[in-house]
Symmetry: D3
Subunit: 137 residues, 6 copies
């Protein structure tokens, strides 16, 4: 049975400040530069959610992409779109909202919810010039 | 000898209907929603064909991308571009034309024809928000 | 009072056949080539709807883009998305579904509904390499 | 002498809140919805600056695009990139930071500084699905 | 009769050096910077050719975009693709190959050949961040 | 400790000629076609540099992307941007400047310089339709 990976892309807009409260203001400014602006800045994020699985003979789908879209909207997009990662997002509490930490948090929200497919990759674009990816390792 | 992956992107426009003839009309409508429209709908598909191999010292190429392009045009694009996946495409007969099933069929048409390189990945974009990939597993 | 143009982009997928029933099959094939395939083909269309107006001091908007989006969805996208322009779309009856004719029909559906702003431009992309635009002239 | 329009695209990331302090919180929420989030949200903005002029025979340029880029960086990007439009940007004081109002403010900062070329159009993308343009009228 | 604008996008790759032979090497280096590299550099150019006209009732087209594509390939792309604007292109002889001068030359090659439509706009992208446009004025 | 891959995209414009000096002119023309033009052609290259590593708890970063950007600029972009791969680039001496050979050379310039992260993938786009990738194997 061939195993195929299917990906759904979703988008959201959010504000954040890259800031470690355990460090002094001077250290934060030195490490994070303009990303440490106390008044926040923001991005149009792009998230690619990839799951792998067998093709269901009855549907020809690995899984229904509308269902995957709704899952990601409910678990992630509804909680972060037009929000502030530092102030508004429960699952980011106590974590510096870098793309690296965001993607790990997103993974945890999805990994047990895509069965019988298997979550295999998340990609998160922060700008047109940088993105992070996580495969669960 | 370093092994490099080279990719050629091709594009085609096609119509399809996501429909399982073994199911009732009601079941089809319930499972596939608007993708089950009996009068078809269509997409601008994007196909990325990736092959891996050693760099040929005489050419500096893994393989000639013009030759790869021509192969994919002859094997795939000429048969699906401006066609209907359900009605016009021999190699899709009896298969629900989801992206998952399309990419498996494409793989079979290419896998034995790219030697001495090795076909390692196909990616098929159906819309700007979803794509499938297959690596032969 | 400065006048600004605001644009909302929407997307839909549809099938069509470029065919003039007043001509013979041979003439249709000669004029329209592969776009005349009797079994249809399709596209991921992109539509940019532009309206111009004064900035409302109370909102800072020319008009609420969510309202514009909903208008275009109700007037256009809901009628054409995952549909066949030749068979499913009332407002295209009797018209060859080229992008030129489609954009004129879209214009008529929107032009009287964006007040107090003014509809100034529609752009319709059929593929990544061709688009049409109409400004009401 | 032919007159050509040349455009330089620049990008910046900023936070904002669409909010009219003259209105009640309930009115703001009703009008602006999720864009009114008190904790801000943000975007990757894209700005296209277009100027028109004669081609200088000595250079073949309408104007030096590096100079135009530096002008826009100094006048605009340095003041808004990784900033908050409501809190950090002097030239937006007292104005609701919608794209419409932002583009008017940008115009005023550039219009007298591109001579002997003439500023003819600004386009500002807020997301991949909406943009505003202003031509000085 | 509604008048619609239709656009065909084409692409080509070329080398050039921005250099005015009437100036000294020092002046050239000062004015053009890295674009003056004597060993050339190059770009993936994107050209949008727009023509306006009445919709032909028989075809639903302003003009056949395949015919427009072939015209632009024959008149322009075949002469500049994988070529050097300074050395290989007859119609650029004696002209500094900036995008401004290139677009004027392209216009002259097309303006009398799109009848009964009317050439109304050329846009030439040199990089993802700059483009020029010409409307014949 | 989760391991994340972070990618920085950079861009440069360069000229090249695909040519093997060990072959005759006729052989070169037959093998490389228009890419063998003796007067060069060029591209807007896009380079994605991916590194993998643990997330640093102090910064929330795998590594500082500004530092990665500066490294790639210093090691690669400053040496190839607005240059000729055949004539101007020391590290390409004696190598046919295909994308395959370029990416191997880029890898060697970066692989020992991204510690404590690990270089895991380079992707180099030559046009919008072809790219190569290398993972060190």
């Amino acid at each position: 049975m061939p195993r195929v990976t299917v990906t759904r892309r979703l988008r959201f807009n959010a504000a954040h400040r890259v800031h470690n409260p355990a460090l002094s203001d001077e250290e934060n400014a030195a490490i994070f530069g303009k990303c440490n602006n106390p008044n926040w800045h923001g991005h149009n994020y792009i998230l690619d959610v990839s799951v792998e699985g067998d093709i269901d003979e009855r549907t020809g789908y690995v899984l229904d992409l509308s269902a995957l879209k709704q899952l990601v909207e409910r678990q992630i997009v509804d909680k972060v779109d037009h929000r502030n990662f530092n102030l508004d997002v429960d699952f980011m509490r106590g974590v510096i909202p870098t793309s690296e930490n965001i993607i790990i948090a997103f993974w945890r929200l999805l990994v047990d919810r895509v069965s019988p497919a298997r979550l295999t990759r998340l990609v998160l674009w922060e700008t047109e010039n940088n993105y992070v990816e996580y495969t669960g390792g």
